[in-house]
């Protein structure tokens, strides 16, 4: 089916319309009238499919990095000195979860909290779009997790849906057992029902305190708070004096694992220190976007005009392919999604240059073959064929470099900075897309739309 250029042309046009739909800005107001048909609606690119019982839903929005949207970026170094090597992995993961919970609690929209572990370095990277008060952010995030057992002041108090965390905090008082008294927490399974449970193991001193408290509170609720937020409120069944306890609720295995991680975070507080912090004001970010977009449009226009000046109608075909390229790449950025940063935009713009390069290589070959006396149609096909070797080799080295810059294996000895990655990933996608548009799209456009007078010799 790909032998017929007209059919390929139709497919390309269809594809272009499809990616153009993905590219429409979110909340775009579509309003037009064709004869009796009136369209007036706010449009957002969304897929909402019900297909063979599968629900596919996806919104297409452009994700902007902190340098463009404005916000705060923090890098914490976890001090693992006092933590056994085997526990470090789970310790950093619990710390990450705790920080994520705190950031969410703070009301940051779409925060990113991730760990970066290499050799002996355990780091947590926190990105908070829209947050400009860096000190408040650090105070919020950097404190170590606090686990606390609390009893109700009035054990018969009733809880309702309207009871807030703050209410719960005032309704209860500490029983004097905190994360320091916990040795560790694990996920266990009930020996009879097989349901997941969260097992607690206390230190010797903590176990003694716990035995006293549970003896006093048999049949009454004992709330477990983490950072002043209640995690669970189990009811004490009997006195527990063997330093061991289990919390059984209606947990799924994941919930039990999460709770255990959180309790470990309270039990194994990893001291963290800030090693890097940066804040980009929203105004600077916005002006960077405007300027880059303007620069991109101006550059692209000059390139397009240059191509027409140099290659005439062929240049126009290449420009049309370039538009397909731009729409396709941007749609890919939205669909994957790729977080766009300033270096990312630079990588995109550079890849436009490389996309044009493929066409220039082909057209120069075409001119040569024509000079050698071949009819234009054959010269064109030969041009595409012969240019392919150098296009492939040249772009392949760029892809190699992108791979090394992106560092997909997260190797310790290579950079893994967000900025460098942002650049590598957009350049990579750009080069791949340019191979497609430079070869397939331009070729099809020329086969279908381009005509040259046969020279009568």
């Amino acid at each position: 089916m790909f032998k017929n250029p007209r059919r390929v042309f139709a497919i390309i046009v269809f594809l272009t319309v499809l990616v153009a739909l993905v590219d429409i800005p979110t909340g775009y107001h579509l309003k037009f009238q064709v004869g009796p048909i009136k369209v007036d609606r706010v449009f957002s690119p969304t897929i909402n499919l019900h297909f063979l019982g599968l629900n596919i839903q996806k919104d297409f929005t452009t994700k902007l990095g902190l340098d463009l949207s404005g916000g705060t970026n923090l890098v914490f170094d976890a001090n693992m000195k006092d933590i056994a090597t085997a526990d470090r992995g789970s310790a950093i993961e619990s710390a990450r979860q705790v920080i994520e919970r705190r950031v969410n609690f703070f009301g940051v929209s779409e925060p990113i909290v991730q760990t970066a572990v290499s050799n002996d370095q355990y780091r947590i990277i926190v990105e908070m779009p829209g947050v400009s008060d860096v000190n408040q952010a650090i105070a919020l995030v950097g404190a170590t997790a606090q686990l606390e057992f609390r009893e109700f002041i009035n054990p018969n108090a009733s809880l309702s849906a309207t009871t807030t965390y703050a209410d719960l905090l005032t309704m209860t008082k500490s029983v004097g057992i905190t994360g320091k008294d916990l040795k560790r927490s694990t996920v266990t399974f009930d020996s009879t029902s097989g349901a997941p449970q969260v097992g607690l193991e206390f230190s010797a001193e903590g176990g003694k305190k716990f035995a006293d408290v549970t003896r006093r509170l048999v049949g009454k609720p004992l709330a477990i708070f983490l950072d002043n937020v209640p995690v669970t409120i189990p009811v004490v069944k009997q006195e527990i004096s063997d330093n061991q306890a289990v919390i059984n609720g209606q947990f799924t295995q994941d919930e039990a694992k999460n709770l255990s991680l959180q309790l470990n975070a309270g039990a194994l507080p990893v001291p963290v220190t800030v090693v890097q912090k940066s804040t980009i004001g929203a105004t600077l970010g916005a002006s960077s976007v405007t300027k880059s977009v303007r620069a991109g449009i101006v550059g692209l226009t000059i390139v397009a005009l240059f191509m027409i000046a140099e290659y005439g109608w062929l240049g126009l075909m290449a420009d049309a392919a370039l538009i397909v390229y731009g729409l396709l790449t941007y749609a890919l950025f939205r669909a994957i999604p790729i977080t766009l940063t300033l270096p990312g935009i630079a990588g995109f713009i550079l890849s436009i240059g490389m996309a044009v390069d493929s066409n220039i290589l082909i057209f120069e070959r075409f001119k040569e073959e024509k000079r050698a006396g071949r009819p234009w149609r054959i010269a064109m096909e030969l041009g595409f064929g012969k240019a392919w070797d150098s296009i492939r080799d040249a772009n392949f080295t760029t892809l190699i470099t992108c791979g090394i810059l992106y560092n997909p294996g997260n190797w310790d000895f290579l950079p893994s900075s967000g900025m460098v990655r942002g650049f590598a990933v957009t350049l990579f996608i750009g080069v791949l897309a340019s191979l497609f548009t430079g070869i397939v799209v331009t070729r099809t456009f020329i086969r279908v739309l381009y005509k040259e007078k046969e020279k009568v010799s």
Binding site: Q276, T279, A346, I349, I360, V420
Partner: protein
């Protein structure tokens, strides 16, 4: 056909004109590392009273960039951007970058040697690549001394891109030589290279123009934050295009002459 190979001395002088001052500046003053490498604090503010001090730099009408070692210090005005980087991260980044560059160079060398079935092509491409990298670093040593341009993470990215771009361009010229060799062209090697260069020079200039247009637009209109980054890319691109016919191919020709003389 233009006899490019007759003017190898001219290309050497041209390269030396850029490389010698650059290397002098690099040895004499070195490059100016940004806080990405040294650690410290950078604050960009918008204010009507310029902050005082040696580390204050004006970026546009009413915005200033202040560099500090003490992160608790405050600067009056609307804070547009504030970055603090610990010194450990900086040296780590430097080490990793050098490793990445070396690995990329090795990978490219192997790929070119494989694609052209000849180590000579690989080595010549790498020599051109090192030429381009020295041009970029040398220029930044000069810019750093005279205009306060800093070497930061973005510069590192530009540096690594120059690598890939340089080879990208060299391959196009080499591909033509490879094709002629395959065809069993009976020309002497010098003349063969000249022919290949004559045939590719149109493409090389056309291509560099398009990329240079894009980058110039970014330099002049793009934001302050990426200006030096784009300039680094621009220099890398120009040097990368220049070095393919005027460094990589002459190296190939000289190597061939030397081999023939040895026989």
């Amino acid at each position: 056909m233009i006899r490019f190979s007759k003017y190898i001395w001219l290309y050497m002088i041209l390269s030396a004109l850029v490389l010698v001052p650059g290397m002098y500046a690099l040895i004499r003053w070195g490059v100016k590392p940004a806080i990405d490498f040294t650690g410290g604090t950078l604050i960009e503010v918008r204010t009507n009273n310029p902050p005082q001090g040696a580390s204050v730099q004006k970026t546009s009408n009413d915005t200033y960039v202040v560099r500090l070692q003490d992160e608790t210090a405050t600067v009056a005005g609307e804070i547009l951007r504030k970055e603090t980087i610990g010194p450990v991260l900086g040296s780590e980044l430097l080490k990793k970058t050098v490793t990445a560059a070396l690995i990329a160079i090795m990978a490219i060398l192997l790929y070119v040697a494989y694609a052209f079935k000849n180590i000579k092509f690989g080595v010549s491409a790498i020599i051109a690549l090192i030429h381009d990298l020295l041009v970029v670093v040398g220029c930044f040593a000069l810019f750093g001394h005279f205009f306060g341009a800093e070497v930061d993470t973005l510069f590192v990215t530009a540096f690594l891109t120059t690598m890939s771009f340089s080879v990208h361009d060299t391959i196009v010229v080499f591909d033509r030589i490879r094709e002629m060799l395959k065809r069993g062209d009976k020309l002497p090697f010098d003349a063969l290279c000249d022919k290949a260069m004559t045939e590719t020079i149109g493409r090389s200039t056309a291509n560099s123009f398009t990329i240079i247009f894009m980058l110039l637009a970014l330099t002049l209109l793009g934001g302050e934050t990426i200006r030096w980054f784009v300039i680094a890319l621009l220099i890398g691109t120009i040097s990368g295009t220049y070095s393919s016919p005027f460094v990589a191919t002459p190296v190939l020709i000289l190597w061939d002459r030397w081999e023939k003389r040895k026989k």
